[in-house]
């Protein structure tokens, strides 16, 4: 009998994303060479962009914040066996909701502290609805969540665009909504000179909450049971339909918080968006590399945040095209996903598992 203890499974789980990340970075270096640039210089630029000064690191964290949320959203849904590729749409709808609350609701005197909470809550609710619809259609009509999530992304894009142009901006010349009232802003200046805002605490707090829900509550047990085996979950008295809807709603809420925090902490308005910007895809990368675990998600978000934040300086200092970051990200997803590539890591266990037909 092979050792099946959780520890070994844990080691295997960490091995694949680490290897995939290394291979992904090698692909990045290859791209830099192809572009005729100096990878050593690029590495120096990367180092400076990440750790050169405290404010630089602050900016890395600024890039990390939405990635933590979107990564958590994807990972949470994945635990129930759901692929939430609709993070982007949930993100957009949450931004709209946050703008509405942030611009038009004025908290009563002395209760200004309620403003960010309500604005964030509105975004979470909007995201939960947008995700929940997908969960509902899966539970009720059996429609695969991937297709509906994709559809909902594009519907969100055009709906948000219409709402912005019809209602949310002062005049047609402005490519953004009204500004949020200052009471709804998250305070910046956690690190001198950087735009790091308190959203980082909300993000880390959300990671803790996700971990608690998944592993320390009956709801988490239900979600994981449904993810591994809907048949056994149903047998065990767990309502699969309810779990699917709740999971997609929570996942949507987390994705929505990404949009809200971004609006409240950084942009302070909703900017005109004519194409999907890829927040959802970033989330998929982060969740997979983080091996669907909240701690892993935070670490993976930091990695991708550093790559994104450093792309500007790498371009300026070493002439590395920003596109390289997308390529590295794609490569990492690709190598994490192609599990068969890493079968040598699992060969011993795989053999033991085969049973005759």
């Amino acid at each position: 009998m092979p050792d099946q203890s959780k520890w070994k499974a844990g080691l295997r789980a960490i091995g694949i994303p680490v290897l995939a990340t290394i291979v992904g970075l090698l692909v990045g270096i290859l791209c830099i060479l192809i572009a005729g640039k100096d990878p050593v210089l690029a590495a120096k630029a990367f180092y400076r962009a990440v750790a050169g000064e405290p404010r630089m690191f602050g900016n890395v964290l600024v890039s990390t914040i939405p990635l933590i949320f979107t990564g958590l959203a994807v990972a949470f849904a994945y635990r129930a066996g759901l692929f939430n590729i609709g993070v982007e749409g949930q993100y957009l709808m949450a931004q709209i909701a946050t703008v509405v609350v942030g611009v038009w609701w004025t908290p009563p005197q002395g209760f200004e502290w309620l403003h960010p909470i309500f604005a964030l809550g509105a975004g979470a609710v909007a995201g939960a609805i947008w995700g929940g619809i997908v969960g509902l259609l899966k539970a009720w009509k059996g429609v695969h969540e991937v297709i509906n999530s994709i559809m909902m992304n594009w519907i969100a894009l055009f709906l948000a665009d219409w709402l912005l142009k019809a209602y949310l901006r002062p005049d047609n010349s402005r490519a953004a909504s009204y500004d949020l009232q200052q009471t709804a802003w998250l305070s910046q200046g956690l690190i001198e000179g950087s735009r790091l805002h308190t959203g980082i605490w909300i993000a880390l707090g959300t990671a803790v909450v996700v971990w608690i829900i998944l592993f320390k509550t009956p709801l988490g047990y239900e979600i994981r049971a449904v993810g591994h085996s809907p048949g056994a979950a149903e047998y065990g008295g767990i309502s699969v339909a309810r779990a699917l809807i709740i999971t997609m709603a929570i996942s949507g809420a987390i994705a929505g918080m990404a949009g809200s925090v971004q609006t409240m902490g950084l942009n302070h308005r909703f900017n005109e968006t004519t194409a999907l910007l890829g927040y959802g895809f970033d989330g998929i990368a982060v969740a997979l590399v983080g091996r669907l675990h909240p701690v892993g998600v935070v670490l993976a978000a930091l990695l991708f945040g550093a790559l994104q934040a450093s792309s500007g300086l790498m371009q300026a200092m070493a002439g590395v095209p920003k596109a390289v970051v997308s390529i590295v990200q794609a490569a990492v997803i690709f190598f994490v996903a192609a599990e068969g590539l890493w079968s040598f890591l699992q060969r011993r266990r795989a053999k033991k598992e085969v049973t005759p037909a």
């Binding site: 791209c31 192809i34 572009a35 692929f83 590729i85 259609l137 009509k141 429609v143 695969h144 991937v146 297709i147 509906n148 994709i150 559809m151 909902m152 992304n153 594009w154 519907i155 894009l157 055009f158 709906l159 665009d161 219409w162 142009k165 019809a166 194409a275 999907l276 890829g278 895809f281 998929i284 990368a285 997979l288 095209p321 920003k322 596109a323 390289v324 970051v325 997308s326 390529i327 590295v328 990200q329 794609a330 490569a331 997803i333 690709f334 994490v336 996903a337 192609a338 599990e339 068969g340 590539l341 085969v354 037909a357």
Partner: protein, 297 residues
């Protein structure tokens, strides 16, 4: 009404056919891949990379026809990555498709910068000719739709391709090479996705523009579902979606106010969700679509 009705109708038909062409080609690609059992949300990326390939090869050769071949070449490479990951290495096909889409964005942006040293768009390149009033690609798309239908439903090859998408183990026990058929399906989606890209860059336009696929791959995916994974169904669905896109233009021309253009843009997605939920007809995916096939021995 300021413009004659006949003119408007003609404009509408032309606009619809133009909008339909890239959607139809990509949707046909999706049909081949998914009929063979491999979910292909990478159509968007294949299309984008194909559009770049068409422009690039047209640029260096001066011939749009070489550009067309180049689009196919690049499309097949992108689809090939998806095929290897999902067929050989059992990758989650949605994840692999996502990676390809991201890769296409990074790759085309990188190459724009590398080759033409500029962001945004390529210089003007040779484009495919019009035949009569319509571009060559429009004819090609509709011809390929019919060819695809015949291939899938009237040849032994098509029967086998569909069998591996429905019940690969059953096909395997009859000596059909499941992996080979699946590779064929996915690589064909690369050919067709590449052509869809070419129809954007050197068909309707004569240059590559950064991000020019702009979600058309996903509309094509929707059309493939709306058309029930059938080439002729895809013709109907893409015509409907193409029409809904050109309708907004026509409404403006006719001076009809009140319906925001965004609603027309949303229509394909809303319709697809409705048909999937069974509110409008019913569309069922091939039974083994998205499930990696593992051989035991």
């Amino acid at each position: 009404m300021t413009v004659a009705f006949g003119t408007i109708l003609l404009t509408f038909i032309m606009a619809t056919l133009r909008a339909t062409t890239p959607l139809l080609l990509a949707a046909l690609g999706g049909v081949f891949s998914e009929r063979a059992g491999v979910v292909n949300i990478a159509l968007e990326g294949i299309m984008l990379a194909g559009a770049w390939g068409a422009a690039y090869f047209s640029f260096i050769s001066g011939s749009a026809w070489i550009g067309l071949l180049g689009a196919v070449f690049i499309g097949v490479i992108m689809a090939g990555l998806h095929a290897v990951a999902s067929i050989k290495y059992y990758a989650d096909q949605v994840v692999s498709g996502t990676a390809i889409n991201l890769l296409a964005v990074g790759f085309t942006e990188f190459m724009l910068n590398r080759i033409w040293g500029q962001a945004g768009s390529s210089p003007e390149v040779a484009s495919l000719p019009n035949i009569g009033p319509l571009n060559f690609m429009i004819y090609l798309a509709f011809i390929l739709a019919i060819v695809s239908w015949v291939a899938l439903y009237r040849t032994p090859w098509g029967l086998r391709l569909r069998s591996v998408g429905e019940h690969p183990l059953a096909a395997d026990t009859l000596g059909i090479d499941v992996f080979k058929m699946r590779y064929a399906g996915v690589l064909l989606s690369g050919v067709l996705g590449g052509l869809a890209g070419a129809s954007l860059s050197i068909g309707l336009l004569s240059r590559f523009v950064d991000g020019m696929s702009a979600g058309k791959g996903f509309i094509a995916l929707a059309a493939m579902i709306f058309g029930k994974w059938n080439p002729l169904g895809a013709v109907g669905a893409t015509l409907l979606f193409g029409a809904s896109q050109s309708l907004s233009v026509i409404f403006q021309l006719m001076g009809i106010q009140g319906i925001p253009t965004q609603f027309f843009n949303m229509l394909p997605y809303v319709l697809t969700m409705l048909i999937l939920a069974g509110f409008v007809g019913k569309s069922v995916a091939p039974a083994a679509d998205g499930i990696p096939y593992r051989k035991t021995n």
